[in-house]
Symmetry: C2
Subunit: 415 residues, 2 copies
């Protein structure tokens, strides 16, 4: 199979693609059977009714920003593309599907499954790492109905958590400002090994500077970072020698000797990258005192505090542990398709769409404009009438578009 | 390397080991570098001070049951053992470690790293799937100090989420009773591909009956299950034919025709395993009506409702997305080690311990008794004085032990 032709237009902010990440370590578990069984029964139903090759369009989007926030950072695209590039049922996959489908399923269906790959798909997507908003398609998949259907669960799995944790990281970055170094320390509490690796990768995309996860450093080129040793005090007993090396301005009886010893030992070993865990004994009565004492000594040598590590809350996204991305049919055989629901937020926006991010005269983004493919492009310095698709009190807005109108950046992948 | 000798004593309840799971699909990402960088610097510090081969004992335990609950289901052991069996730094791992350690690190350290494997470790553990409680060691690792240290992050990663989600599943099972079939449907919202697979596996251990995740079915032998199609209504347009096949007792104008059609189509295809998603249009005004109508027809054919699927809340453990297992040094060179803290819950219980689950005369468990290795075993029909290690109002309890005293079941692994 020839490699995917990927066109990556320049990003909105001109940054290099994907923060220089290279992805050579995708999980071997990302394979066609990493899906819900119902996708396979759907595929069978399409095949049985002869609709499996009808041209279809599916949108991936979410309905609400996570964490009661106002934005989402889109991530997971690279994993989706790699999955599609390598999509092929193995012989043992087919054998397994035979076991779980009803016995009376037609044998020709399995021959059909064997032929499937990503070669008839076209995928358009917002650029990885973009700031995105509800309802706007993040990924649009064009291709044969059944093949598109088989991607649903895997795409959602790959996009949902990646975008959630990248957004969480971006919020930490927003709160801390641009100057501090933020380090991801969540591996031990992450949701499984891949949960940990995914967190390291997408926290980096979301604005973190490094990770404690060595494998993430090796696979993705994310800077690794040392964490200090809350255990050192129990295992190094020759500490008096170390204490003699430096002069301390705190009363030793107030604070833990062992903790101080550990900090000092670590500071001597890594004076340029000193990091401390201050909650081993007592944060305020011991940890902070020892930490400040150590830092003061380091400052005399022209070092300064410039990094913080974040663990469990970052990687598990405690405040909201799942993003609700969905994957919906929006057109079939050139007919727009809509999902109706009494719950207005669950109604889908039908048809093949194109999206523009509209910038105001001062250069900041005003809104994302979604149009049907056949509608004329919006033009700078012309008035357009925009309509919010669902909110009553937000139905119209007149926008004077200026010369700086730019297309919402999209990646076009043809394989 | 010879395979691990694993002795699995009979379980407390006499059930077969590990629910018949076989684990032939461990994530290729579970390797020695899936760790925090600080473990490698600790290892270097031990090696540098010549303490790396001192015999050490580490306990894995947690401090508080999750979900404000009263129990935890221990899981993840099999993954830990497989990790230890295969533990070996590759040449490219060593090269990567050279890059991230300071340049002045001694070259002999890398030769030492190359020699490391699990052959000098002994691991004792509570049996996978056991109900366990705070402070009691779940896994105890005996071996050279530095080698034990290198397992910390990986063990915590493998145990924390597995135990959390198994416990969550057990709580769903407790709420639903023993008869219903419970199915895990969380793949699309799980925290990454492995998060999804881990959830499928450990929800099964926690008491679920199956999963929608096909790969989990293939790898672990967990029963796969079909989910119905909330999308079928948009893609099948020959529905009038289907409606004619059955007589319905509901007024069609009240409910969605499309939804009913989808349910019926699915029920005809899979009359023995019909499952419905009822929130596509409106749960009470459409979904339930159509569902009941379909079920009534199926009931006439002697089918009944006996299964429920649970997704996002189950796999992400929304109520508490991380379990706080820790990995602490409790003895070094035959000396007990304690971690002191102003926060009494953070103090570790020092020394090599043995644990017994004490059963009362009526056959139900009373408490888990932790003793130092050298203390005499408790005996049935003798009084013992038990002391709660931390809680003031729970310090003593006199227990008359009956003949049915049995050892807390442990797995002994020697590799």
């Amino acid at each position: 199979m020839s490699p995917a032709r990927v066109t990556i237009p320049q990003s909105i902010d001109g940054s290099p693609p994907c923060n220089g990440l290279h992805m050579n370590g995708q999980d071997s578990l990302v394979q066609p059977l990493l899906t819900d069984f119902y996708q396979i029964t759907m595929c069978y139903a399409y095949w049985k009714t002869g609709t499996h090759n009808e041209p279809a369009v599916f949108d991936v989007f979410f309905r609400k920003n996570p964490f009661h926030g106002e934005f989402t950072v889109f991530a997971g695209l690279e994993d989706c593309l790699r999955f599609v590039e390598n999509f092929k049922f193995s012989q043992s996959d087919i054998e397994y599907v035979k076991k779980i489908l009803p016995e009376n399923a037609e044998p020709a269906f399995y021959e059909y499954l064997e032929t499937l790959d990503g070669s008839h798909l076209t995928i358009e997507a917002v650029r990885e790492g973009s700031v995105v908003f509800p309802k706007v398609p993040l990924i649009t998949i064009y291709g044969p109905l059944a093949m598109c259907q088989l991607l649903e669960t895997s795409f959602l799995n790959l996009v949902n958590y990646a975008s959630l944790v990248a957004t969480n990281a971006a919020r930490f970055r927003q709160a801390s400002g641009a100057k501090l170094s933020l380090l991801e320390f969540g591996l031990r509490r992450a949701q499984g090994p891949n949960g940990g690796l995914t967190a390291s990768k997408y926290c980096y995309i979301g604005g973190f500077d490094g990770t404690s996860n060595v494998l993430a450093g090796k696979l993705f080129g994310i800077p690794d970072t040392a964490k200090t040793m809350d255990l050192f005090q129990a295992s190094i007993e020759k500490r008096t020698w170390l204490l003699d090396q430096m002069a301390w301005g705190v009363v030793q009886s107030e604070v833990s000797d062992g903790e101080l010893t550990a900090f000092v030992a670590y500071a001597i070993a890594f004076p340029d990258s000193f990091l401390a865990l201050i909650d081993t004994y007592d944060v305020l009565r011991s940890g902070v005192v020892n930490f400040v004492a150590t830092i003061m000594s380091l400052n005399e040598q022209k070092h300064e505090i410039n990094a913080f590590g974040v663990g469990t809350h970052l990687v598990t996204c405690q405040k909201q542990p799942a993003l609700g991305c969905v994957y919906k049919l929006v057109a079939q055989s050139a007919q727009p398709k809509i999902k109706l629901s009494q719950d207005v937020t669950k109604i889908t926006i039908p048809g093949k769409k194109k999206c523009y991010r509209i910038f105001g005269k001062n250069g900041s983004a005003i809104l994302d404009l979604m149009m049907l493919e056949e509608e004329p492009e919006p033009k700078p310095n012309e008035q357009i009438l925009c309509r919010h698709p669902f909110e009553q009190n937000n139905q119209t807005a007149q926008c004077l578009l200026e010369r700086r109108l730019r297309h919402f950046v999209r990646i076009i992948v043809v394989i």
